[in-house]
Amino acid sequence: MRLPIHPDLLAMQSTVRPEYDRFFWICVIICTTVATAIAFFLIYSAWHYRRRNANELPSQLDVKVPAEALWIGIPFLIFLGMFFYGAKLYFDIERPPDNAETVYVEAKQWMWKVQHPNGIREINALHVPVGQAIRLKMISQDVIHSFYVPAFRIKQDVLPGRYTTIWFEADKPGTYHLFCAEYCGLNHSQMKGWIYALSPGDYARWVQQGGAEGSLADTGEKLFHQFACSNCHHFAGHGPGPNLVGLYGSTVQLQNGQTIVVDDDYLRRHILTPSGLTVEGFHSSIMPTYQGQLTEDQLIALIAYIQALGNRTPEGVMAPDAQGSPNPGEHQRESRSAGKSPGGF
């Protein structure tokens, strides 16, 4: 007879998990206490004040205002505590640390496709090194899916048409379930995979065997020439299109007057339907529409390439501080406080 609870599920597997479990069980204790107290009180009243005489009329007790205030006030304070703790935990789950490595995830009915920045592709599997924060940029090709790793206590819906992000850091080598948590049609319950958390040494070996044909950005560079992007987007001097070097993560002014930060979602939308999103000072009619011509895979590769360009200075050399702050996403968040979202708001 197996234990109803898988022993593996009780151990620590990710960095948010201990905090999550602590909070969860505190809440369970609060709930159990309240429920038990009410149950006790119900049973006590039902027994102690049971009707002893069919015509009995008990004293008709009236309301005591302090009692009302007490049992409105105390629960509310407990609720507030739960709210704040829950909110803090949520922000921890939502906001990746600065040193997080980005991995792209594509969901489609009914499989998970993973693209590592080093070019390795996986299906229904994700290999990660232990002790390294991983940020997942996820997009769906069809319906809404949800990336769910119970052992890590994380879940994020994966939407069509927009990147969503989640992060985790595995603490212990092991193999963990990956589920789709948002109902997505016929084989929803089959849309699952495994997260392989490997020790750094094992991970390095795995990468070597991976047989990547060049990094994601390299693939993007090929596409960049294949789709003739390079005809207009020059890396030196002025072309018909903006110079993309250093663009990613910077703040630009659009023709419709908005100021936005160049991020994955903006780039994706601009590549697909450029109109209205063109940077001020360029002709909006030059850039063709790539809607229907690029797959989500190719878009990811192109964006990875543009992101890699973003780490260079416009002169075309690596910026001296590029190693110090390899994550343009951070820059992007910094500057967002002043700017607006690319969504048009």
Binding site: F91, R95, R333, E334, R336, P342, G343, F345
Partner: protein, 99 residues
């Protein structure tokens, strides 16, 4: 049957007011005010709607219950509008704290 109908004068004035506002909004529409165009138009429409509700639909002189119902409807519509927009407007904003 004791409730009073608005006088002919009230009805006529409301009508003139509504027509005037329609003319105003139609002419303002021809001027490019940028983002103010739809804003002004909606505000004028709200004024027109209030005129109709208060004077032609007797919300002003009718029983208080009617005003409560009407105000409730508007309130609930605004709840839906505002809370939905909290998501769409703040979606790209910076996260305040975290790691």
């Amino acid at each position: 049957m004791t409730e009073q109908h608005p006088s002919l004068m009230t009805i006529a004035l409301t009508w003139f007011g509504l027509l005037g506002l329609t003319l105003l909004t139609s002419l303002l529409g021809l001027v490019n005010l940028g983002a103010m165009n739809p804003t002004v138009a909606v505000i004028i429409a709200a004024v027109q709607a209030s005129l109709i509700a208060l004077f032609l639909m007797h919300a002003l002189k009718g029983p208080a219950l009617i005003r409560v119902i009407a105000a409730g409807g508007v309130l609930w519509f605004l709840i839906m509008m505002v809370l939905t927009l909290t998501d769409f407007i703040t979606r790209g904003w910076l996260l305040p704290f975290g790691k």
